[in-house]
């Protein structure tokens, strides 16, 4: 597993490196001392796992994650930060407190899902932060993406958080086998479609599980019929 160490203190990274030397399946691909360094490394190395410190100068670990198009697996590290600890609790994220206890590290690594085959070019999960709460959202759980200016509102479960990406930006990165641009305002998850019917003006109306109803534009209605060979 390719991992990146992200912490502003060199000695903290050194310490984590030492602890990880016990775990032969983890390959440390690089180190970063702040969010912008980290972003460049993530783009270049496409790691499977991040060890991410929350409190860093400039952007925090949360801010870094929320800016990524594709969030890798993450194990958060922090010395002590009430706000972060609270976020971990409410969001059930995995974290380690520094100094890291070796058995806790082993447990956190054991919990990680096995790295998928390399076909996940398209993003499969995003990190979303909305006020106090944060989530890793699997794309399969998102029923609907709704454009709100430069932001996009995600509809999954009972949550409706906004993320700072435009709908067009997301469309380019979403797997077209699973997501369909329904109109200027909406992208729908094809797996969440319950039924489709034709509206009065000939455009299609998609009913999604969870009670959403999205009207497709005329052009996209045609495209939808073509792709689905209806």
């Amino acid at each position: 597993m390719k991992a990146l160490l992200i912490d502003d203190e060199r000695l903290a990274r050194l310490e984590l490196r030492r602890l990880l030397s016990e775990h032969k399946n983890i390959e440390i691909a690089g180190e970063a001392a702040n969010a912008s360094e980290a972003r460049a490394l993530i783009d270049a190395l496409d790691p499977d796992l991040l060890f991410l410190d929350i409190q860093m100068p400039g952007e925090t670990g949360f801010e870094l994650l929320a800016s990524l198009d594709r969030a890798p697996q993450v194990i958060f590290t922090t010395a002590f930060d009430q706000f972060a600890l609270k976020a971990f609790e409410v969001s059930a994220l995995d974290y380690l407190v520094k100094p890291v206890v070796p058995t806790r590290l082993a447990a956190a690594l054991a919990k990680l899902p096995a790295p998928q085959e390399k076909f996940r070019k398209a993003l499969d999960q995003v990190f979303v932060r909305d006020g106090d709460k944060c989530w890793f959202v699997r794309l399969t759980e998102i029923a609907l993406l709704e454009s709100e200016g430069n932001y996009t509102r995600l509809h999954f479960g009972k949550e409706r958080p906004l993320i700072l990406r435009s709908l067009a930006h997301l469309e380019d990165r979403l797997d077209p086998d699973h997501f369909f641009r329904a109109s200027r305002k909406h992208i729908i998850n094809l797996r969440w479609i319950d039924s489709v019917e034709t509206g009065i003006n000939g455009a299609l109306i998609a009913r999604l599980k969870g009670g959403f109803e999205v009207e497709l534009s005329r052009r996209q209605s045609l495209k939808f019929k073509e792709t689905m060979a209806l």
């Binding site: 502003d8 203190e9 060199r10 000695l11 903290a12 050194l14 310490e15 030492r18 001392a33 702040n34 912008s36 409190q55 100068p57 400039g58 010395a79 002590f80 930060d81 009430q82 407190v97 520094k98 100094p99 890291v100």
Partner: protein, 344 residues
């Protein structure tokens, strides 16, 4: 009820009761039972004059309260007698004195009687006033002492949280653990610093002040540890006038400010910065400043609490003689404390 209101009630009520009693005495001991309009008017005027004169007495003699007991009492006795005399003359002239014009003899008994009674009333008034003032001053002093004690305790507790706490402690321990492999000699030193910082934070003695030298030793060790953590990102300088080393300051005040400089200044800068400490003496005052690279954040609840607590302690110890201000200029945040020089 506020103090002004209380005073007005006691003042007005006291005089009303006193005049009613004097008038009652006159009814009991005088053979003449008929009450004339003139007499009522005279006693009313007497009460109003009494209210006016004793109030004047209070305003003009307020500073006597701070004199020694002996010299204050001479003055109070004198002024009491004077007010008694004035009121006695007034009530005699306005009342039975008129009858002299009609050929009656001067009412000596009434005259001296009233002077003695009035002097007694004014004397009681003064005694009561002094007693109330002193009792409330005592209560105030006690509250102040309690507040001071509480604030010191709170600061100790806060410091405990800041030192024994969280961020500093665990980051420090993590640094030391990394150093054990990398540089064992430095790790040994770091453990010693950490221990003395914890010991200083957990001090059990209740001394309200420490010498600047003691506090500086602690600050130096604290900065040394933070330098291990931040490495090249933190540079420090300490510039202290040797003459102030034995002067005394409240413990942990310097420390709180230095910590803020690291926590809210350096820790937020990717390329780090400098923390410069300066302590000077200027005309019986000690000027301490901590400058750090960075900008004042408009909203920072945490530093707000630390600063508020420090301000409170300075105020309780030195009143308006101590100043703590936070300013920003040229990409530098400057925390400055000015307090009176003291060696106790």
């Amino acid at each position: 009820m506020n103090r002004r209101k209380l005073y007005l009630w006691l003042h007005g009520g006291g005089w009303t009761v006193a005049v009613l009693m004097l008038f009652g005495l006159r009814l009991v001991f005088s053979s003449q039972l008929r009450v004339t309009f003139l007499e009522i008017a005279n006693w009313t005027l007497y009460a109003l004059s009494g209210i006016f004169l004793t109030n004047q007495l209070r305003i003009r003699t307020r500073h006597w309260l701070d004199l020694s007991i002996a010299s204050a009492w001479y003055r109070y006795l004198g002024s009491t007698l004077l007010v008694g005399l004035v009121l006695g003359i007034q009530v005699t002239l306005v009342g039975p004195g008129w009858r002299i014009l009609a050929g009656a003899r001067f009412p000596f008994e009434f005259f001296f009687g009233t002077i003695i009674n009035t002097t007694f009333v004014v004397f009681m008034w003064t005694a009561l006033y002094i007693a109330i003032v002193n009792i409330s001053r005592l209560a105030e002093a006690q509250t102040r002492a309690l507040q001071l004690e509480l604030a010191a305790k709170e600061a100790r507790l806060k410091n405990l949280q800041a030192q024994v706490n969280p961020h500093f402690l665990f980051n420090g321990l993590n640094t030391v653990r990394a150093l054990i492999a990398e540089d064992p000699a430095k790790a040994t030193e770091a453990v010693t610093w950490l221990a003395s910082i914890l010991r200083y934070g957990l001090r059990s003695d209740d001394a309200p002040t420490v010498t600047i030298a003691e506090e500086l030793e602690m600050v130096t060790q604290y900065l040394a540890l933070e330098k291990l953590r931040f490495e090249k990102r933190l540079t420090t300088s300490i510039d202290v006038d040797d003459a102030v080393l034995t002067a005394r300051i409240p413990p942990l005040i310097r420390q709180t400010i230095t910590e803020n400089a690291i926590k809210h200044g350096i820790a937020n800068l990717p390329n780090g910065g400098a923390v410069n400490i300066e302590i000077r003496r200027a005309s019986q005052r000690i000027e301490m400043s901590v400058r750090n690279t960075g900008a004042l954040s408009s909203h920072n609840p945490e530093s707000g609490i630390g600063l508020k607590n420090t301000r409170e302690r300075l105020h309780l110890l030195y009143g308006s003689d101590a100043v703590l201000q936070l300013t920003e200029s040229n990409n530098e945040v400057i925390a400055q404390i000015i307090l009176p020089e003291s060696r106790q």
